[in-house]
Amino acid sequence: MNSVSGTVYDSAKQISPAFSEVRELRNYRYLLAQLVRRDIVTRYKRSVLGVAWTMLNPLGTMLILALVFSQLFKTVESYPVYILSGLIAWNFFSQGTNAAMSGLVWGGSMLQRIYIPRTIFGVSAIGTALVNLLISIVPLILVMLFTRTPIPWTVVFLPVSILLLTGFALGFGLFISSLAVYFPDVAEMYQIVLFAWMYLTPVIYPENIIPEKWLSIYRLNPMNAMLKMFRIPIYEGRIPTGPEILPALLWALGMLIFGWFFFTSKTDEYAYRV
């Protein structure tokens, strides 16, 4: 009986939240861009070197790790490239999921005041990490030039690697951030989990030091499959084979779907909780 144009909201007409959220996110894409911009711009706002820190950070970490561990892992050829190709992927994951978590907790005060799609903080956190990942490719190239490692043509596979890891990180970030809404301790606990997870993943050490009997467990680590997507094209200089891509693809899709549904199934509660 009302013929009013414009935005009509009817709480009774709700299609599955997992799907309506996608539509809302599309409507708010400008906010998404603004949040990513804000996070990039403000992170180093008061520092002299500004955004250059995005490159200097992994470069510094890499230099230290390379100095410390190159004696230990003498067998690894061009170790700096090995470590940096793993580190950019790992940093993307840990930064993105962490920011997704703190983003929702920060956004909580906004969620209680105005309507915004709830996934926007998770998605923008991963978006920010993605920009940082792209910027950190610059020091990787510098190190490859400096150590006279030829840059293989197979790096053209990287967009696929990045897409897979993005899907996995977004799914996991949404999952962990909805846990953190209910249990604030999760935020602290996750730092320890990340720390342990990094050492369980061959970021700084070569895969071949893992004892035979642990290999089957080790292969269950999804980040292992993810890191391979970066290391094989950058470090080994070949395109990953189907059997190598498959676990990464399954993890990425599975985690994305699981995280998205898990998060959106609780969206109506966040305004009560955060």
């Binding site: 009986m1 009302n2 013929s3 009013v4 144009s5 414009g6 935005t7 009509v8 909201y9 009817d10 709480s11 009774a12 409507n27 708010y28 400008y30 906010l31 861009a33 603004q34 949040l35 804000r38 711009v41 403000t42 706002k45 008061r46 005060s109 906004m110 969620l111 209680q112 005041r113 105005i114 309507y115 915004i116 846990l179 209910y182 249990f183 604030p184 301790d185 999760v186 606990m189 109506d268 305004a271 009560y272």
Partner: protein
């Protein structure tokens, strides 16, 4: 999000004269309050297994049915904790009703705690765009009203300085200017505004009156009963989540005052 769409008048002959902008049908909002605070996952797991996760239910809104018409200035009164803010949250889509149904027709502009999304390190200009985006506007929407926002907030010389250098008055002025930059079909005001000095307050008031003349629907929650009585077309009185009375401002406020004393 576009908001240019002016409300189209009902054209069919048997269309009602009054057009509903907000419709609440038997709306209840229930908060579940844990009887004890459970802060850790471990604690939750243990208690969950022991079936000791207790919740106390609290009805912030209890079976409220209400229609707010187009072009109306509608006030809500009630004691603290009567459910006024919860009602605004349900209407502005922040909370989904536990029971019942809510329908709103048109773009809603919430005027709650101005400048809540501002980032201190960003400039006034950057914050205008960020805040506009939080309210659901696009870049083009904001480009169109940007100059108007700056001049209304009287911040021309400072618009490119970081917002942390702003005084609280400047902050609130910019917040108000952004929140009211576009014509809202439904404007939600929590507490009568006390933004900046008297001159600016008058500007805010004028802008709200302008919206009203253009046919906006305005929803106000306040404790300033005399001012509400002057401004509103109708008033609702909420008490412990229940709708006590809806009607003419004088009548409702008198009843509310009597109940209080």
């Amino acid at each position: 999000m576009r908001i240019e769409s002016e409300t189209v008048q009902a054209t069919s002959q048997d269309a009602p004269v009054v057009q509903n902008m907000i419709q609440l049908e038997n709306v209840s909002v229930e908060y579940r309050i844990p009887t004890e605070r459970i802060g850790t996952l471990k604690e939750f797991m243990i208690r969950y297994l022991q079936r000791r996760v207790g919740f106390r239910k609290f009805r912030a809104l209890d079976n409220v049915s209400l229609s707010i018409h187009k072009g109306e200035v509608f006030g809500i009164v009630g004691n603290n904790g009567a459910g006024k803010s919860t009602m605004l949250k349900v209407i502005s889509r922040v909370l989904r009703p536990t029971l019942g149904r809510i329908v709103t027709y048109g773009k809603i502009a919430p005027l709650l705690e101005l400048g809540a999304g501002f980032h201190p390190e960003l400039s006034g200009r950057e914050n205008v765009y960020l805040n506009g985006a939080l309210l659901g506007y696009s870049r083009e929407d904001m480009d169109r009203v940007f100059d108007e926002i700056v001049s209304f907030a009287e911040l021309e010389p400072f618009i490119d300085s970081p917002i942390r250098t702003y005084s609280s008055g400047m902050y609130a002025r910019l917040g108000f200017a952004v929140a009211t930059a576009h014509f809202p079909e439904i404007l939600i005001v929590d507490e009568i505004l006390s933004v900046g000095d008297e001159a600016f307050q008058k500007k805010c008031n004028d802008r709200m009156i302008g919206f009203r003349q253009q046919g906006a629907t305005i929803l106000i929650v306040s404790h300033a009963l005399d001012r509400l009585q002057d401004m509103c077309d109708r008033i609702a009185w909420l008490d412990h989540g229940k709708l006590q009375l809806v009607g003419q401002p004088g009548q409702v406020i008198e009843a509310y005052r009597q109940e209080m004393h």
